[in-house]
Amino acid sequence: MSKIFEVPLYPYQRCADQDQATPVRHKVVVVGAGPVGLALAIDLAMQDVPVVVIDENDKVSWGSRAICFAKRPLEILDRLGCGDPMVDKGVVWNLGKVYFDERQVFGFNLLPEEGHKRPAFINLQQYYMEQYLVDRVRQLQAEGKPIELRGGNKVVEVTQDDERAELTISTPDGPYRVQADFAIACDGAASPIRTMMGLDFVGRVFEDNFLIADVVMEAKFPTERWFWFDPPFNRGQSALLHKQPDNVWRIDFQLGWDIDRAEELKPENIDRRLKAMLGDDISYELEWSSIYTFQCRRMDKFHQGRVIFAGDAAHQVSPFGARGANSGLQDTDNLAWKLKLVIDGKAPVTLLDSYDAERVHGADENILNSSRSTDFITPKSEISRIFRDAVLDLSERYEATRPMVNSGRLSVPCTYDGSPLNGDDCALMPARTRPGSPMVDAPVPGGWLLDRTGFGFQLMTIDENAPEALDVDGIEVKRLALTTPGDADGYLKQRYLGDANSAVYLVRPDQHVAARWDHYDEAAVKAALLKAIGR
């Protein structure tokens, strides 16, 4: 049986654009059918923005790559109609253990907060996620939504003027050209489009190599994340063990800088490492192995006129903290509704600058967190190693230093503090739902709060009156009316009211809070809405 990532999913087929003498003009062309490109295209198509996705390949991601998906991306995937298959297939985990040398230093429980539809994390191979996204594309096509997926199409040239981007695409039948109001480059960390446009991608290179071995084995280990600092089986380095569905285990060995890649990747050498770690009597099948190095870097600007960058093409982080795909999905969540409003002529094109402001902020947060994890895992100086080891030694006995142990700070959603789109705030209300924050889920009568938001602007009222719908310069704002008598467990009070007796939240199409008040004031809502669309 071939592995899921070896089967062509969207093989090359000749399309009508290739027979035209002049380039066909599209609304949006997305380059790259990785998780980010696919999610963006689905988001646009669900809002009836015609979109064509182009990929040089025709399969899901080679090997597992990303395995750890956080709650916020799962909520985004819910909005896109892909959350259920992910969570049904994924492995939910909350427990972790940290080892130093030969000793277990401590164990932790992520203690997920109650009152959310989705768990804090699931583990799932990236190829499954991409498969579910492609399934969703097919489903939307069957519903007549304007979305096309072209495999075996490779972008080889990009030009642009004030009104359009033009792409030259090479195919087995020769090259053709297309134009688009916007071309979105989701073409991965090595982004050929970024290179073609001569744009910088600067940051910090980490001089280290990591060997990934994804193995299929019947193991009795619990569903926990195990992390070793300086273990006997990998002296001076780190190691990680984490479970994926189908009895696949992610094993990650830090190797250091001066290594012989070809030698390390030989099955007999991987076997020697696995046996040293797990015992001589293990039996397993190697599903995928790879050696990776990483960098923490980002583009100066993600919005480059008619070409916009998202996902790994725009920013890259170390895998510690599971922030790559997770943050890429937050990019598309942020970008899709803005593109829709601009293309429909309801918002000025400068609204797209706020994508830059908000997601550059998100990328910087991720780069900061993953650089700090990396500095803890691989101390860069003698004194940094002394402190790292001191933290680990103390943590075995005392709770005091455990919060400093950093084997990856797992992805948390980004709050767009200081965003130009943020409007009024109300000081009586909880900080976690301040303007710029993603909404916090809560049970509401008949389901979940987040399932009742998204795509359009909404006015969420709690114990306060407001019109059922407002029209602000052609933009519809629908009311979502909630009451505290319907909030038996007090989640709305805890998450949205705080010390206020009533609340009115203006919610963006990406489920982020735009502004909030303790009473309804039509003029204030209108002003906040115009601000939130860059007018």
């Binding site: 002394i386 402190f387 080891d389 030694d393 103390l394 005392y398 230093t401 400093m404």
Partner: protein
């Protein structure tokens, strides 16, 4: 705002100083460095207040 106490605050300064040296007795340089690091971390946790810690970091760097 709490300020870093840079006035003399330890009852029995000579005894404390002697205690400090005695925990290092017989240790190699490497072991002493490790002990110092653990000591700093424990004391920092005891202080807890980030503002006081920042002042202590600056004061220790002889920056103020």
């Amino acid at each position: 705002m709490t300020a870093l106490n840079t006035k003399a605050n330890i009852n029995g300064p000579d005894e404390f100083y002697a205690d400090l040296l005695s925990v290092h007795e017989g240790l190699t340089k490497e072991q002493s460095d490790a002990l110092n690091a653990r000591l700093i971390l424990l004391m920092a946790n005891h202080i807890g207040d980030r503002e006081v810690l920042s002042q202590a970091l600056r004061a220790a760097a002889l920056k103020d």
